[in-house]
């Protein structure tokens, strides 16, 4: 055993050891200082960052309000739609992930890459970017089982709008579709991929139907897996709406116009609520919800009958003889006596021109009532000449023509009631006295929409109240104005309408069991030259596009039930012969089939 003792010099110099101790202490002091800096000086900040690390804010979707018909049948519902979302922050390998999604769905990788590139700025951090809008059910199961292996991919369940009746109510309900970039910029509560109202009531009543999204805090681990959630603000569901539409009646009315272009309205005159609202042809609004393909869009756009046009509020045409109801009212309002007569010999000479009555042989001596029932043009030429454009125009406007009705639908057209100022501004011409005559029989510049006619006839029936046309039961009726007619004057016009059904142009509507009145109208599409007018061609001989638009405005009462039914058929020819049978079928249903 060797004891290698070295009695001296085995220890280093003392100064060096002190230096070493100072070095150690100095470094530990540095660590303590750094800890103070991290944990106390910046502790609050790091604490906040730690919370941000684990907590993500997420929106809770609010269910959109359901829509039912007046009998409680669902017409707009929410169904779950399964979309494939991508949380970029959690994705480990973007290329591989997109390639896998492509393999599942068959969507080319370039398209997916493009979509991610396009949407990445629109999606907030940690929010899923919607890669595929709707996954078919078979695919859903396969992807769901595999999302664990592909961090960042997740199935996003969102409510999707579905309209069980499709085209039947497309012009009433409109549709929702994916929010656009402009809409996103306008409204910060919207997020990429949300569905918002784009047309119809879905658009106009968007704020009531949408509800408010809730917010939840989502606790996640570093791979983005959710561990739990805590609701911060619960979502509030959108308002449920009940349509004034009676689905069975709507369906009946809808098919009455199959193959035609036109509108058919059934209104409750006391409330302005519509029981049927038909614009044909229609489109399937479900197509829009998940995005229309360019082919589908082209088909709709290029259809010569324009299915997207909402004819009840957008098709403004000359009202033809229906306007005689308004002019008669204007005359009564202006003090024309119901007993004043005109003599019709088939034409009315005005200046150097001869204005013809539709009945070549003439009506003989007619008063206001006879003039309306016979729809005598000569009587109204004379009345129009007496009243002049100013009084006719003012009265028509007071009846709600030439202005929006305010119905809860978008893109309504105001139509047109001409006036001297309008003509000067628009055409740069003065108003010629001869134009008074044309205006008085509803031709010329006058343009009215079916909804305006329905509101006007309702006012005649309900005691004179112009009520805002409405499609829902949720709101109380809004009286917008009052007709400038006494009850006696209104009764005279209504009597004329009833007699028109009994012995005039609307005889087709006759029913023993109900009190029905009506007025037909024909809006000329092609101005007939005098020579052509002589030999009025038969409807069948004319090209579709040259045929006149047919109008009929009616009311029907039986016991305590009252309806206003207005029909307009584009290029339908004569009002009584084309639109008449349609309305007759409506009354048959309302007073016959439905009642029994």
């Amino acid at each position: 055993m060797t004891t290698n003792l070295e009695p001296e010099g085995q220890q280093p110099p003392r100064s060096g050891l002190i230096l070493l101790q100072c070095l150690v202490l100095g470094l530990f002091a540095l660590f303590a200082l750094r800890l103070w800096y991290l944990q106390i000086h910046r502790g609050e900040e790091f604490s906040r960052k730690a919370r941000d690390n684990q907590l993500r804010r997420e929106a809770i979707y609010a269910p959109r309000g359901l829509i039912r018909d007046r009998e409680g049948r669902l017409v707009a519902v929410n169904e779950p739609a399964y979309a494939l979302g991508l949380v970029r922050e959690d994705v480990k390998d973007m290329q591989a992930t997109l390639a896998q999604v492509s393999a599942w769905t068959g969507i080319p990788v370039q398209d997916l890459t493009q979509r991610v590139g396009h949407l990445r700025k629109r999606v907030k951090p940690f929010e899923p970017l919607i890669l595929v809008q709707e996954l078919p059910f078979e695919l859903l199961a396969r992807i769901e089982a595999n999302t664990l292996f592909w961090p960042g991919l997740e199935i996003v369940v969102r409510p999707k709008r579905y309209y069980p009746q499709g085209p039947l109510l497309a012009h009433v309900l409109g549709y929702v579709a994916e929010v656009s970039e402009e809409e996103l910029e306008r409204d910060s509560t919207l997020a990429m991929g949300d569905l918002v109202g784009k047309n119809g009531m879905e658009l106009i009543l968007e704020n009531r139907l949408r509800g408010a999204k809730g917010v939840q805090n989502l606790e996640v681990d570093a791979t983005g897996r959710r561990l739990g959630e805590e609701v911060v603000t619960p979502p509030s569901a959108g308002e449920n709406l009940t349509l004034s539409i009676d689905l069975a009646l709507q369906e009946r009315c809808f098919h009455l116009l199959d193959g035609q272009a036109g509108a058919l309205l059934v209104m409750d005159p006391a409330t302005g609520r519509l029981l049927a609202y038909v614009s044909q042809p229609a489109y399937d609004n479900n197509q829009f919800v998940l995005g229309l393909s360019s082919k589908q869009w082209a088909e709709l756009r290029d259809d010569p009958l324009h299915p997207m046009q909402n004819r009840a509020i957008q098709s403004a045409y000359p009202p033809g003889s229906v306007f005689k109801l308004v002019v008669a009212g204007a005359g009564l309002h202006a003090g024309v006596s119901p007993k004043d007569t005109a003599y019709c010999n088939g034409a009315y000479a005005f200046g150097s021109r001869l204005f013809r009555c539709w009945k070549k042989e003439g009506h003989g001596t007619v008063d206001l009532l006879r003039g309306l029932v016979q729809s005598c043009d000569v009587f109204f030429y004379q009345l129009g000449d007496r009243l002049g454009v100013d009084r006719m125009s003012a009265f028509a406007k007071a009846c709600g023509f030439g202005d929006l009705t305010g119905i809860d639908l978008p893109h309504e057209k105001p139509g047109l009631i001409p006036s001297r100022e309008w003509k000067r501004k628009r055409l740069g011409e003065m108003w010629y006295p001869g134009e008074n005559l044309n205006m008085a029989i509803g031709q010329g510049y006058n343009q009215v929409t079916p909804i305006q006619v329905a509101r006007f006839v309702s006012a005649l029936v309900n005691g004179g109240d112009l009520i805002k046309p409405s499609l829902t039961m949720n709101d109380d009726p809004v009286v917008q104005d009052h007709l400038q007619l006494t009850d006696k004057q209104r009764d005279l016009i209504l009597e004329a309408m009833v007699e028109t059904v009994q012995e005039g142009t609307a005889r087709i509507l006759q029913r023993r069991d109900a009190h029905i009145g009506g007025k037909t109208g024909t809006a000329q599409v092609v101005r007939l030259k005098a020579s052509e007018a002589e030999k009025r061609r038969k409807l069948e001989e004319m090209e579709y596009w040259e045929r006149d638009h047919a109008w009929i405005a009616t009311f029907g009462q039986k016991e305590d039930r009252a309806y206003v039914v207005v029909c307009m058929v584009e290029h339908g020819g004569h009002g009584g012969s084309t639109a008449g049978p349609v309305v007759k079928a409506v009354y048959d249903y309302l007073f016959g089939e439905k009642a029994s």
């Binding site: 060797t2 290698n4 085995q10 991290l38 944990q39 604490s47 690390n53 684990q54």
Partner: protein, 371 residues
């Protein structure tokens, strides 16, 4: 002289033993929390802390073994041990198991064996033996011999590649050399050469190592990539604030935001849960621990014993320095664990053995003291 007599027991270094056990206990406790994952249905604890306990118990046995005989006998086995270590390191290079792209382990069937851990003991012995000879201050010959002997195993470890362990080995050897004292010209040369050689070393680094240095200089450049460790570590520690979030309540580690949380970044978990208060106490324990190692080196009865203790002191000091510096964001990320706190089987075993060696030196100091 019998290996153990009454005087040996009388001079038993209870403080060092107590501090070591204290550190180990803190480590296991912290590891329990660090290996817990929060899942949807409560906590799930990986059995890291159990393995650490088992390794620790083996380490204590090793420590006892390293205490019973007189440490001076070790001079005899220094060279043979060195030879065996070199063989094992070479064997690891050729037959080692590849884990995470590095060939660091020899598969012994029952367990994996890290030859680099054994190299730490071998180099400590050979360094202390070589440097205890010769004049003081150290002459060039002995200096080059010691450095040369250290470079061979260090080079083999770098090839695995395991830069962290290689640097620890060199720190151990360099510490003994510094402790022994070098001539002023030597020190001056080292001070001058250091800054010149360091940039040259850049070219020998792996890409991932270069990236770590760049990341250290600017962690925000790639917050979800290379800078992630650094940023998450600082968030975890910083969010502990003064008093910490409490045991098992650290969100950053249990939600897996903090990587390597049971190994190199274990102290970040500690910082998050125990706060500034706990960290200062832990730092103080480490400081006392180092102080007792230092005292053991100073009070040793001969140069060999003194250098053994000094080597161990530098070995631990270096690891604490690098690991704390890294976790606190003061240094680039280097894979060096914090002694007794980080999880690591063979490292824990070797740490206990080294402490045993120092205890051995410390309790046999009486021979000189009495004289």
């Amino acid at each position: 002289m019998s290996p153990i007599d009454r005087r040996v027991l009388f001079h038993f270094n209870w403080s060092l033993l107590g501090l070591t056990f204290l550190l180990f206990a803190v480590g296991v406790l912290n590891l329990y929390s660090a290996s817990a994952f929060r899942l949807e249905d409560g906590l799930s604890v990986n059995p890291f802390y159990q393995k650490q306990l088992v390794w620790g118990l083996m380490g204590m046995v090793g420590m006892a073994v390293f205490m019973v005989f007189d440490y001076r006998h070790l001079q005899v086995v220094a060279w043979p041990l060195f030879g065996v270590t070199l063989c094992l390191l070479l064997g690891t290079l050729f037959f080692g198991k590849v884990i995470y792209g590095a060939r660091r382990w020899l598969d012994l069937g029952v367990m994996n064996f890290q030859a680099s851990e054994m190299a730490k003991i071998a180099i400590l012995l050979i360094g202390a033996k070589l440097l205890s000879r010769g004049q003081r201050p150290l002459d060039w010959g002995h200096l080059f011999m010691a450095v040369g002997v250290g470079m061979v195993p260090a080079g083999l470890i770098v090839l695995q590649p395991d830069l962290g362990s290689a640097l620890s080995v060199l720190a151990l050897l360099g510490g003994i050399i510094l402790y022994r004292g070098v001539r002023w010209p030597v020190l001056r040369l080292m001070v001058i050469l250091g800054p010149i050689l360091a940039p040259l070393g850049w070219f020998f680094l792996h890409d991932y190592q270069k990236q770590r240095i760049l990341t250290f200089l600017d962690p925000g450049a790639d917050p979800r990539g290379a800078g992630y460790h650094v940023i998450q570590s600082q968030i975890a520690i910083g969010s502990g604030q003064v008093w910490g979030k409490g045991f098992l309540s650290g969100t950053q580690s249990q939600l897996r935001f903090l990587p390597e949380k049971h190994t190199d970044f274990a102290v970040a978990v500690f910082g998050e849960e125990w706060g500034f208060f706990g960290c200062i106490i832990l730092l103080s324990i480490f400081c006392l621990f180092l102080y007792h190692l230092f005292l053991a080196a100073q009070d040793a009865k001969d140069r060999f014993g003194s250098f053994l203790a000094a080597g161990v002191f530098f070995y631990f000091f270096w690891q604490i320095l690098i690991n704390m510096g890294m976790v606190l964001g003061l240094m680039p990320v280097v894979g060096i664990p914090l002694p007794f706190i980080s999880y690591g089987g063979s490292a824990t075993l070797v740490n206990f053995c080294l402490i045993g060696l120092v205890m051995n030196v410390s309790m046999r100091r009486f021979v000189f003291k009495q004289a």
